[in-house]
């Protein structure tokens, strides 16, 4: 009997191949959409993490209290030692020192007189150390518009807009006029190695990026850093994990009253990022749920229709003396098989698409021109654990429920009525 049913299932394409394709497409869309939503929400978080917040950030307590003002006079000192300690304590996190600074960039003419000036927001990052991942993290290689990346000490990258405003080109010298960690006036010359564009107004307005060692010299901050930011090795922000690590670190320093004691904050504990993280979680769940529900309705309906169109066959089988319960059970078993086959196929294809978009991304930089928010220029999906099982909700559950509902008709209808439908 089983062989007979399997033969029927395989041969009747409208009973096997078509439903499997329908389920696969539904599941594939569900998996891809979930990965896309997770990725899109996560991308904005990751972008903020890479440029500003990190997945974790260590500062002095005093710096943390006035973080918005970038108070370098309250910066961390003995950073080398702290980096070593943090690396040992949290081996799954990569740590990088950064110094943010504000100042005036002065561009001289051929005679050494000021040609142009403009206010700049600067960032000292580790660009020249072996093993530093900051160039990749900030996507600097792809952001270069003219010139090249920093390869020597004393070089700087200016944002393309800023360089045009100052009328400077790669190879020109500019002077940073700012204040040291101790409040003295500081002047430091940089050679412009290249110009960069991140594609977002907020980053391209007037930024200068230098190697952190140059920033330390320029701002008189030996072995100091305004902040140390940490990134999970897996590359994605995990709020629960970040909060747990931050709390663990802070508990060890809880009894110290020194305002220069390092304090750690997770991304969600910094400014309005917490709200964004919460919002992205809610939206992610909400949008995914709506989509899963919609797909469930579609596949439920497919299961229902698949069952209804088989009333004729049901009629024949009942006439031959097969029991209603047996007919009903075999229909359910078939739908479970269809559901599982379609879900496995759909999940595989959905994950493959999601993986491709996660690795390569979809370039939307053209749409982001002039954006004042820090938004990603590439749409990327993000595959998470739920993507591996989420498709089973619409794929198996809905298909089986649809068939079960259709099958109820077998019990409710008089056998003779099924016959009428058979004869129709």
């Amino acid at each position: 009997m089983l062989k007979f049913l399997i033969k029927g299932l395989i041969r009747d394409k409208s009973r096997s191949r078509l439903p499997i394709i329908v389920v696969s497409v539904g599941v594939m869309l569900t998996v891809f959409m979930h990965a896309y939503i997770t990725g899109f929400m996560g991308d904005t978080i990751e972008m903020n993490a890479k440029f500003t917040n990190g997945h974790l950030k260590v500062m002095t307590r005093a710096y943390a209290d006035e973080m918005d003002q970038i108070p370098n006079d309250l910066a961390l000192v003995n950073v080398s030692e702290l980096t070593e300690t943090l690396s040992q304590q949290f081996p799954n996190v990569q740590w990088a020192s950064r110094i943010k600074f504000g100042g005036l960039i002065d561009a001289p003419d051929v005679n050494g007189e000021t040609k142009s000036q403009g206010p700049a927001m600067g960032m000292g990052v580790d660009l020249l150390s072996d093993g530093s991942d900051e160039i990749n993290r900030l996507n600097l290689r792809n952001s270069v518009v003219r010139g090249r990346l920093i390869v020597n000490r004393g070089e700087a990258l200016l944002s393309e807009d800023f360089s045009q405003k100052l009328k400077v080109n790669p190879g020109d010298t500019v002077t940073l006029i700012g204040s040291t960690m101790n409040g003295s006036m500081s002047m430091y010359n940089f050679t412009v190695a290249g110009t960069i564009s991140f594609g977002t107004e907020v980053l391209d307005r007037g930024s200068i990026i230098v190697d952190i060692e140059d920033a330390r010299i320029a701002l008189d901050m030996p072995d100091a850093a305004g902040e140390m930011i940490g990134f999970f090795n897996e590359g994605f922000y995990n709020d629960e994990k970040a909060v747990k690590i931050a709390n663990q670190f802070n508990e060890s320093n809880a009894l110290t009253t020194d305002e220069f004691t390092p304090v750690m904050k997770s991304l969600s504990q910094q400014g309005s990022m917490g709200q964004y993280v919460e919002l992205s979680k809610i939206w992610s769940v909400l949008i995914s749920s709506v989509f899963i529900f919609a797909m469930s309705l579609v596949l439920w309906n497919a299961g229902l229709l698949g069952g209804l169109r088989r009333y004729g066959e049901v009629g024949i089988r009942l006439a031959m003396g097969e029991e209603k319960g047996h007919v009903y059970r075999t229909m359910i078993y078939e739908s479970i098989f269809i559901g599982i086959a379609g879900t496995v196929l759909g999940t595989t294809v959905g994950l493959a698409f999601a993986w491709y978009v996660q690795v390569h991304g979809i370039n939307i930089s053209g749409m982001m021109e002039g954006a004042s928010m820090m938004l990603p220029t590439h749409i990327r999906t993000r595959i998470t654990v739920p993507d591996f099982y989420l498709g089973f909700i619409p794929g198996v559950l809905s298909t089986v429920i649809g068939t079960m509902l259709a099958g109820i008709g077998i019990f409710k209808r008089q056998t003779a009525r099924l016959f009428k439908e058979l004869e129709a």
């Binding site: 007979f4 033969k7 029927g8 024949i316 006439a319 031959m320 003396g321 097969e322 056998t415 003779a416």
Partner: protein, 230 residues
């Protein structure tokens, strides 16, 4: 020996807020090996009566005893058992399983009865020989003519050698030549295997073969005549 006894059988169907009475106090009996037909125009109740005899429907009043089973008192499982073991059905539109071969279609009732593979092979071969389709075992219904399809349906109905075969307008979709061929086959099986055949028909060709003609009109037996003894 009577295998079917019908007493004061009434069948009503709900229609809107009221009821429609399809069969009104039918009294009939059929013996083993009969080749009988329920004859009447559309709406006369012949298919309804055939469905009740076939345990596909139940009487509203009265009693229908088929092979000792009171149809109105059978549970769904018992009715299925009766059909599985003792009844064969032949339909106007053949109702073959389209994706299965001729062999598999005929084999299906035997699968339900848990016959062994070798028994099934033998019984299916016999049934296909009765209807002259031994060369079509691997064909599928869409590859067959209407007459061949109906012969497969007859083989399927006969393969388990049931006591009773119910045929509802079995020639309605066939041309004259095929109709005669089918009817001759059924008459031969009736004669050789002593299987009782009951037809529901208004086709003159079928009527001409019947040994007993029961005319139904508006849900009542209008005339019951034996034209040929079995």
């Amino acid at each position: 020996m009577e295998i079917i006894q019908i007493q004061n059988l009434t069948k009503r169907f709900p229609m809107g807020k009221g009821e429609f009475t399809a069969l009104k106090g039918i009294n009939l009996s059929f013996g083993k090996g009969e080749f009988a037909g329920l004859i009447g125009p559309s709406g006369s109740g012949k298919t309804t009566l055939l469905n009740i005899i076939g345990s596909l429907d139940v009487p509203s009043d009265g009693e229908a005893l088929v092979l000792g089973n009171s149809i109105g008192k059978l549970s769904a499982k018992q009715a299925a058992k009766l059909r599985k073991e003792n009844l064969g059905f032949i339909f106007q539109s053949y109702n073959l399983l389209q994706v299965h071969t001729v062999f598999e279609n005929v084999e299906f009732p035997l699968l339900l009865l848990n016959y062994s593979t070798s028994e099934r092979k033998k019984m299916v071969a016999d049934a296909l020989e009765w209807v002259g389709l031994t060369d079509k075992t691997k064909s599928k219904p869409p590859q067959l003519s209407g007459g061949e399809c109906q012969r497969v349906a007859i083989a399927r109905a006969m393969v388990k050698r049931p006591s009773l075969v119910l045929a509802d307008e079995p020639t309605a979709n066939l041309d004259a030549a095929n109709s005669h061929n089918i009817l001759q086959t059924m008459e031969k099986l009736n004669r050789e295997l002593q299987t009782t055949f009951i037809f529901a028909t208004h086709d003159e060709k079928v009527i001409s073969y019947l040994h007993r003609k029961i005319f139904l009109l508006d849900g009542r037996v209008d005339k019951d005549e034996v034209v040929k003894s079995n």
